[in-house]
Amino acid sequence: MNSPLLIFAGKEFSDGLRNKWVAGATLILAALAFALTLLGSTPTGVLGIKPLAVTVVSLSSLTIFLIPLIALLLGYDAIVGEAERGCLLLILTYPVSRLEIILGKFLGHTAILSFATVVGYGAAGAAAAWAGGGDAGSWRAFVWLLLSTVMLGVAFLALAYLISVLVKERSTAAGIAVGLWLFFVIIFDLALMGGLVASQGRMGAGVFASLLLLNPADVYRLFNLTAFENVRMLSGMAGLSAAVRFSPLVLLVVLAAWSVVPLGIAAAVFKRREA
């Protein structure tokens, strides 16, 4: 625990515990996941669909709205907030590198997100398993759901950090964070849909699919709704996935790039700027 990286990560996580971020995020995710699991399993008995697969579909739709918001709110003031409180100026005079500061804090926030996701969704998964169980395929889909959810959160956390190093005021950062959420979660898909309609089908499936990769939330959606056989049948994405064949690996790499690139730019900007 003596590396500055781990000191910052530990501080961020324990601050998260102290100011109830961890508890709040975990409870919200668990409550909604439970609700979806219970609702999802009511009508399924007759049709013989595995409840866990249903849970994966409904949870991934929920995640697309919730996780980006949690990640952006968690991360937007990571740097600008410290700067505003005067702590950053002080910490920069300590024998630590700027890379250690930004990556350490990022690591701590990632730990908070992962904890909330794994515990919150894991509890719901356990409930679904207890209620109806699931075959090995559904379980695999569920584990990948947890992993990709953390990756989605990390991608938006990286975007939040980028905002946090670029702006000078905390309130500006908050505004941009909310704007970014609206853009990626709502406006982007609407715009894409509009474009599709306006082009009267001239937009090829390949172009359409490539455009989806420009939004981490859509990459996440494609991954969870098309990658697994059990899930694809339920998600209504079977038709799309026939046309759009990105392998799950490609989608995961793109999702990972969505965290590495913004975080890399944020670190580079932070490293270069003067206090």
Partner: protein
Amino acid sequence: MAAVTLDNAAKIYEGRPALAGITLAVPEGKCLALIGHNGAGKTTLMKLVLGLARPTSGSVTVLGVDPANARKSFRRQLGFLPENVAFHEELTGADTLAFYARLKGFSARDCPALLDRVGLSFAAFRRVKTYSKGMRQRLGLAQALLGTPQLLLLDEPTSGLDPLLRHEFFEIIRGLTQAGTTVILASHVLTELEARTDLAAILRQGRLVAFGDIEQLRLGAGLPVTIRVRGDARAIASKLDGSFLKTVEPNGRSIDIDCSVEDKMPLLRLLAGFGEACADLEIRPPSLDDLYLYYSGRGLSAGNDGPVSP
């Protein structure tokens, strides 16, 4: 050997010069007071010394190295108290200090002793949000003292401290300089710095308008000594010749006489001869406030001859 040297250092922020042509040296174990208005460049100068900003031109040398390019272990030798720092409200004072100790690479074992030294051990396990301004300032000072730094920089360190705490604070600084720590402190509250710092640097709009020990500055300014006499003011005024600048208080019970340093003793002898008319007297050398006004006024009217009188 000088602990801190600035050689013709200048800093331009977004086209606006924050500091220009600063040349000064602070010997090891001395205490330098940076004096100036808000925006005069005190904090910028501190940032240059801390290596948080690079000089646009000129050079800065701190403890033998260039602070902006030094290895990070160099910063273990520094202590810094920023002007405005808000520690995490939910943490206790002891936890806050332990975090900073670990960050600086020191054991948290010495923290209780340090809290005791700044007089905060009674509140060590209370949350920072219950602290008063003075207690927060003491926590900030404790943080700056971690690991007994070679160079200590304090930005407005005594704001929010009551006179008793201020006294304790300067006692701590004195102990440090005696042990060889070099201290730079910025303040716009001037009177309290008097007799407590070895050197003073007066900044005005990013320029160094005066630098030296306080006695030198006093002689250089040639400001008059004021002697306030209580007694029969009008009688005294009529007995003194016109070479002194005299101000009689409206109530007629005291009189302020300005005289040069050379005229001081003859005037005192004269006053002593007045008998009952002169009941009591008080000698006031020019204060740091007066010196500041004198030097910064002169800086402002650079190009004109003759100092602006305070």
